[in-house]
Amino acid sequence: MGLMELAWIIPASSFFAFVGIIAFGRRIPFVSPMLSIGAIIVGCILVFVVVMGRIDADPTGIDFFSRKWFEVGGTELMLGMIIDPLSIVMLGLVCFVSLMVQVYSLSYMRHDPKLAWYYAIHALFAASMILVVLADNFLLFYVAWELVGLCSYLLIGFWWEKREPVEAAKKAFITTRIADVALLVGILLLFHEVGTFSMKETFYQAQLLGAGEVSELSSGTTMIATFLLFIGAMGKSAQIPFHVWLPDAMAGPTPVSALIHAATMVVAGVYLVARTFALFEAVPNVLLVVSIVGLVTSLLASTMALVNTDLKRILAYSTISHLGLMMLSLGAFGYTAAIFHLVAHGFSKALLFLGAGSVSHASNQTDIRKMGGFIKVMPITAITFGIGALSLGGIPIFAGFWSKDEILIAVFNHRNFLFLIGTLFVGFLSALYMARAFYLVFFGDLKNENKSVSESPILMTAPLILLAIPSLLFGFSVFGSDEGYGGIGRFIFFENAHDFHFNVLLGSISVILAVVAFGISKPLYITRKFDLNRIKKYFSGLIRICERGYYFDQVYEWFFDRIVLVSSRFIAWLDRAVVNDVGVNGPANSMGWTASKLRLHVTGKVYNYALVMVLGSMIIGSVWWIMVAG
């Protein structure tokens, strides 16, 4: 108990680092990276302490720690933490990748004049992301969720002097914010029924509902609320149709993309679904929606990754695709598989992004058509990038292989045949686009303009190596050992612990597909054994649609410019012209007009008045005569 409660120091130290940097960072330049990295090192150490505490108590148990934050109208709102295997695994991932990225940035960003600001947001991000993971009630969760969104906004728009990052940042914030409307309404709906934001109580009620017992939650509301939560998750995890912000977010610094837009923040949506899985399980129809959205997202995104020529954007589409796989897995009751893939993908994708950063740092470009042959000049980057690519491509023994296999089994067990075909196809495409990027960047001939490219400094390559190790080895955590640890399925699970099992048929199909993809890539893209242009011409229509990203952006832009902005200008005009000029000035003007006419009778001539007097008394007299006398 005692050790676990120390977890609050992890976000707090990063938060204080943020405050410290804001206060002193500008004057003493070196203090900012030191504070931020120092805080995250403290975090990493404490993760171990918390793990010890968890193991001491009950490795797979769940504990809640709450303190009062504020109270209103008799309702107490709490600050609290959840410590269970899920949050611990996420904590480890977030702290480790944050540390790697911040160290990497020391070298990558060292010439940037806004280094202090950069590390300040990194510290704030670390604090809020850890809070997302730890939050034990929906209100605190939403607070942290919005804060990571803010950090994402600030980091995408880090180079705000240029137009493009500003637009990308705005797009990211607004897109996720629209999804957050649904999330907030969902949270409020749950609060409305359960009467507290506490996750513990909400899950308990959901379990009662699922078991068909008397529960505060009604099944209709739970279905709507759960679906709304899922929409929020779709926004953060860039699921179609909310995915449009993620490729544009690549306008930010590359280490940021590695941390926020690959390994940590974008998986918050997956984490949300996993965290609230008790709700999802009570209403299985929503899980079907989750798996459909996941599958469609991963299919569309992987085709977009295959035709893109910008290294960072390829990785971004690949991220979307793999987030889709995680959602698909959750939707197919593959809770363990999804979290397993989340971590494996987190390590691999952070590695790939940092590798891409290393490449673009050395060559000042991100267009893979202008690269080639880099393996000769930057071997460490090439080898580590290769490990990441193999892991993501699902080649055996690498981390991504094991997690993909788990997902396939979940889909096979719980969803129909079409889902399985789709998942296998996504796996194939995944291997193919990773192979394509890897070969085009690192193999072939070194172009003349790239002759001066050289390996990145140690501060950048060390994180690459440290991330390559888990990308290579993390997969073996599926196997249990004799001393207590029973494999990942016995550590992270929803309700039922299970052992690792390997379906030979599925496994061989997926391995063959992945190996074929890597195998055909070299003749296809490097040695040009096949005529690539003929294939391209054959599929030209399809390729164009993929290159344009299925026209999502165009439709949204049209909708925003033609519908939203036009109607807002219309309302603004209405307020001026109708409500103000007619409604407000109108009475004033008519009053003025009436007065200007009425004053004409004041002529000042006695005979006019005399005439009116005589006429008036005649009228009154006749009225009197008719009404009274008559």
Binding site: W69, F70, E71, V72, G73, G74, T75, L139, Y142, V143, A144, E146, L147, L150, Y153, G157, W160, E161, K162, R163, V166, E167, A169, K170, F173, I174, R177, I178, D180, V181, L184, V185, L188, L189, F191, H192, V564, L565, S567, S568, R569, F570, I571, A572, W573, D575, R576, V579, N580, G583, V584, A588
Partner: protein, 506 residues
């Protein structure tokens, strides 16, 4: 100390009145002395307001710092009685803060600065008086005192908006604002007289809020009477709170007013409207309130959406904020209309939070306007290159208005949403959508006007000086404080709201 507590509120009123009065006798050309004296008066007022807020005992609740002086004997029975409860204490603090910040931001006024500060002090005295008296005759008196100086302040020191196709002169805006508010006070006045006559019929005519609410509890006001006269307060005070469709004075007024007046005006004066609804309408006429709240909550929703959508279509920086005030005051009205503790507490907190936030908004826009001489979003662009701190402060206000957690607006909004959810899920969803629209226009504004490549004509811009940055930095600090640790404010508000709602069926 006890003796001082009895007259603390008198002091709060007397300091700005005395400062304003004494300034009249200052020589016109001694601008430095005038400013220093005004600042000293504001600082003292702020300290006093802080003192009464901190010393307010929320365990005990009720009216504290009370005192009373008989002003007119029977049969009118008007007393100058004063006292603050958990709802007015935060408002007094808010006024103190905004007044001090406003004085700091008007430091540079060269044109007739003496007259400016005299009127400004009377304006603030009116606001403070409204929040601290417990007699509706004097409440009305101070309310009018607060409204009247607005006319010269806008018409003389204001600015005119001219976009060619769209012209609003400052005289037009000043006139419109005054006429509107006076029209609203006519309704309020009718309502007050009706209350007095009804109590006279019951045997003891009174203007005292405490007696009135006691009599209301005893059933002096019939349900019919309450239903007829509640709208007089709801709409009469609602005009000042920017209630749709009586809101059009407010964007025009905000835009035309000079910086400090916009700050007081949007920051505090609009809250007077909401406060009036609470203090007279909801306290004395609970059945009327219950009967009319569906309309108020509906109009509040219109406010939220209509204000937010209109803000999106604006070109002038100040108009964006003006319409956003309309939108945020809609949230206050919605929160009040829920009549449940969470919603009403949220509404009062939103009054405080929005007051600070809007003051910060207008102060920063004032800084930008002073330097660039334009507020046209399409002309500004990339000024963050030269004014980084100013833009950060603007961003803090902007993020507060879009309800970012960690800032005061979030706590207030979430409470209002929870409260409205209990009344109507549909309207609550609309309110949440309104908050999302806020994100759109705030971020568009930030992106368009402040970030991106800089126009070469802004090469010579300078960032805010220490005076401006410290003032606005403190406002931003309050926003953070309330956002992270709202308890000190909430427990005071809780006690006031609990008392207010004690007579409503839950």
């Amino acid at each position: 100390m006890d003796n001082f507590n009895q007259i603390a509120l008198i002091f709060i009123l007397a300091v700005p009145l005395f400062t304003g009065g004494a300034l009249i006798f200052f020589p016109r050309n001694k601008i430095g002395a005038i400013r220093t004296f005004a600042l000293a008066g504001s600082l003292l007022t702020f300290l006093l307001s802080f003192y009464v807020f901190v010393m307010y005992d929320y365990h005990e609740g009720g009216y504290q710092f009370v005192g009373s002086i008989i002003w007119l004997m029977d049969p009118l029975n008007i007393q100058f009685s004063f006292g603050i409860d958990g709802i007015s204490a935060p408002m007094i603090l808010l006024t103190g803060i905004v007044m001090l910040a406003g004085t700091m931001m008007s430091w540079n006024i060269e044109y007739r600065s003496k007259d400016f500060f005299v009127l400004f002090m009377f304006l603030v005295a009116g606001v403070l008086g409204t929040f601290s008296v417990t007699d509706i005759f004097f409440l009305f008196f101070f309310y009018e005192l607060a409204v009247l100086p607005m006319f010269p302040l806008i018409a003389v020191w204001g600015s005119t908006t001219d976009f060619g196709s769209f012209l609003r002169t400052k005289e037009y805006s000043a006139m419109k604002l005054t006429l509107y508010l006076v029209a609203g006070s006519v309704l309020v006045w009718i309502g007050i007289i009706a209350l007095f006559i009804e109590t006279t019929n019951a045997g003891a005519g009174t203007f005292s809020i405490e007696t009135l609410s006691q009599m209301s509890e005893d059933g002096v006001f019939s349900r019919k009477f309450q239903l007829i006269f509640f709208p007089f307060f709801m709409i009469g005070f609602g005009v000042l709170a920017g209630l749709w469709p009586f809101h059009t004075w407010s964007p025009d007024g905000h835009v035309a007013a000079p910086t400090a007046v916009s700050m007081i005006h949007a920051g505090v004066l609009m809250k007077l409207g909401a406060y009036g609804i609470i203090r007279i309408g909801m306290t004395v006429l609970p059945e009327g309130a219950s009967g009319w709240m569906p309309l108020l909550i509906g109009l509040g929703t219109v406010n939220v959406l209509y204000g937010a959508i209109s803000a999106m279509g604006q070109r002038d920086l100040k108009y964006v904020i003006g319409y956003s005030s309309v939108s945020h005051m809609g949230l206050v009205l919605m929160g009040l209309a829920t009549l449940n503790p969470i919603g009403v507490t949220g509404a009062v907190l939103q009054m405080f939070s929005h007051g600070i936030m809007t003051a910060l908004f207008f102060a920063v826009v004032g800084m930008i306007y002073e330097r660039t001489h334009t507020r046209d979003i399409t002309i500004l662009g990339g000024i963050a290159h030269r004014m980084p701190f100013t833009v950060i402060l603007f961003a803090v206000a902007g993020l507060t208005s879009l309800g970012l957690p960690g800032l005061s607006g979030f706590i207030a909004e979430i409470l209002i949403f929870v409260g409205v959810f209990k009344t109507s899920i549909f309207l609550a969803i609309l309110a949440v959508v309104g908050a999302a629209i806020t994100a759109v226009y705030v971020l568009r504004l930030l992106g368009k006007a402040f970030f991106g490549p800089m126009d070469s004509k802004w090469e010579t811009l300078t960032d805010g000086g220490p005076r401006e940055l410290i003032t606005n930095g403190l406002l931003a600090g309050i926003i953070f404080f309330v956002g992270l640790w709202p308890m000190p404010l909430l427990r005071v508000i809780n006690s006031g709201v609990a008392e207010l709602l004690a007579r409503y069926p839950i």
